[in-house]
Amino acid sequence: MAQLELFIQTLISGFLLGGLYALIALGMALIMGVMRIINLAHGDFMMVAMYIAFWLFSFFGIDPYVSVFIAAPVLFVFGMGVQKYLLTPVMKVESILPHNQVIMTVGMAMVLSNLATVFFTGNYRSVPVSYASSAWYLTDIWKNSPIELSLSLPWTLSFVIGVIITIGLWIFLGKTDMGKSIRATSQDLDAALLMGVNVNRTRLVTFGIGCALVACAGCLFIPIYYLYPALGKQFTNVGFVITVIGGMGSTNGAVIGGLILGIFESMTATYIGMGWAPAGRFIIFVLALVFLPGGVASILRSKRLGK
């Protein structure tokens, strides 16, 4: 019975983690779809947002969940600036090496994480919210339950807010003009241009939204995770692993990929060892590359066409 308890508990925490991972990957998948580049500074944008949330809490006592509304717009503007002044000019530069923009994002990641170290020191920080350790227990509801399960309050809250943001994004992509032009650009750039989509503006907005999404993820991670300047790299890795598992540029794939990775990672951490969790992340990444190069999106697509 203890084994079952452990398994279900791992499954639950993996699911909750996966929901937050999906939010990180969504931004990356959007950027990947429209710009055809991998933003390797994605995790570092998240780090910036987390520091914003941290300082807002320290100085003004603003709850991290409220600072979503502050950090996301800030990162939206920041992302648009990056796209406008750094990435767009590079598109026009001729060079021998391909993927200049990707290398550019690596440069930005280096600058951001190092500046954070210089200004905020390398110390690990966390936000001491009052509800950090509160949780719901199964035995509270069902007295004679044979197994004991718990559901942490901040994890659940973060997960639910993450789901709400994801649904909001879906509505935005499906219903609004801007959302439709983002999808059009990611499906076929030339066709979108011919249909009168302002591709440059779409790129700007997409990069902004990608950054805003990862800022939301950062604020949601703050109550349950700790914060340090080099954290960006880890979440960039998470982001691109999910993007590949889900299928490049597919938002639905990113959500499913996020859940898969979250569950897989907590399984590795529980049954093999904490230190191996990052290795598990990359092993699933390599497996996805070898056996499922199109990602989850290719399965979804073939299902749809099969009907």
Binding site: P89, L97, M108, A109, M110, V111, G275, P278, A279, F282
Partner: protein, 322 residues
Amino acid sequence: MNKSLLKKFLPLIIFIILLVVPFMGLSSYLMHILILVLMWSVIGQAWNVLGGYTGQVSFGHAAFFGVGAYTAGILYQHVEISAWWGLPVCIVVLTLLSLAIGYICLRLRGAYFALATLALGEICRVTAENLVDFTRGNLGIMIRERTWVDKTWFFYIILLIAAGTYFLVKILIESKLGYYFVAIREDQDAAESLGINTTLYKTISLCISGVLTGIAGAFYMNYMGYIDPGVVFPLYDLSITTVMVVMVGGAATYWGPIIGAIIMVFLAEVIRSLPYIGAAHQTIFGVILICIIMFLPNGIVGDFGKLVGPVISKWWKKDTSS
């Protein structure tokens, strides 16, 4: 002197000048810098074969470097023979590793390949950290009795490796193989339709690149006498710095990685020694990387004309055109 003759013998002249460097009574610190420059030029040349000539940008050369270093270290730790055996043995190990990595990654194109190599670098690091019985994990491996205290012989060995790498790459790129590589870089589909077995040649390119990087890694183990996963598998300090060495110097040029290595090593030393600014060396590197991409995308050698003006560039172009 005749210009073309000078150009032809320039590498040889530099090699001979470097041969007498240890007799000039340079301080041990300067010798250390020179050794690092030569080592980075080897890694840069190696990356250049794969990234510059074949067009497969890799963000994971730390994997090759680290595995080379660990090959030497593990030979010393477990087999209990001199770590210098790592140099020949790592050729075999790195060839096998490159074949495995090539099998997984080379079916991918462009940014996908870059990501896969990045992930493989990280896999290697995590594996080295966790296989404690085999690699001693984060404790690292230390060579307790150093071969030489003096740096002269280390210098000669790395000089030999660097010169060998230079000539090997030069011969390789000027052979038929080199033209295949460049054809793959310019247009993989066109190369394929001309009957070039692109997967085979990309794998060859990866093997050469991996083995050369691994040799540099094995040398590093012998030279520094201590390695741990954080030192030999880092993303920014190794994989990305390798990309920077080539980008600063100039991708797909013979001299690019050498010039890049000189600039990057000296820059790193200067920046790190400055007070206050030293802590921000990655910021400065990142800014340099961004500026290079925006204004000098083909590096100092590749965009020499832009820098110095058309007169000298004409003289220079004949020498460096690939």
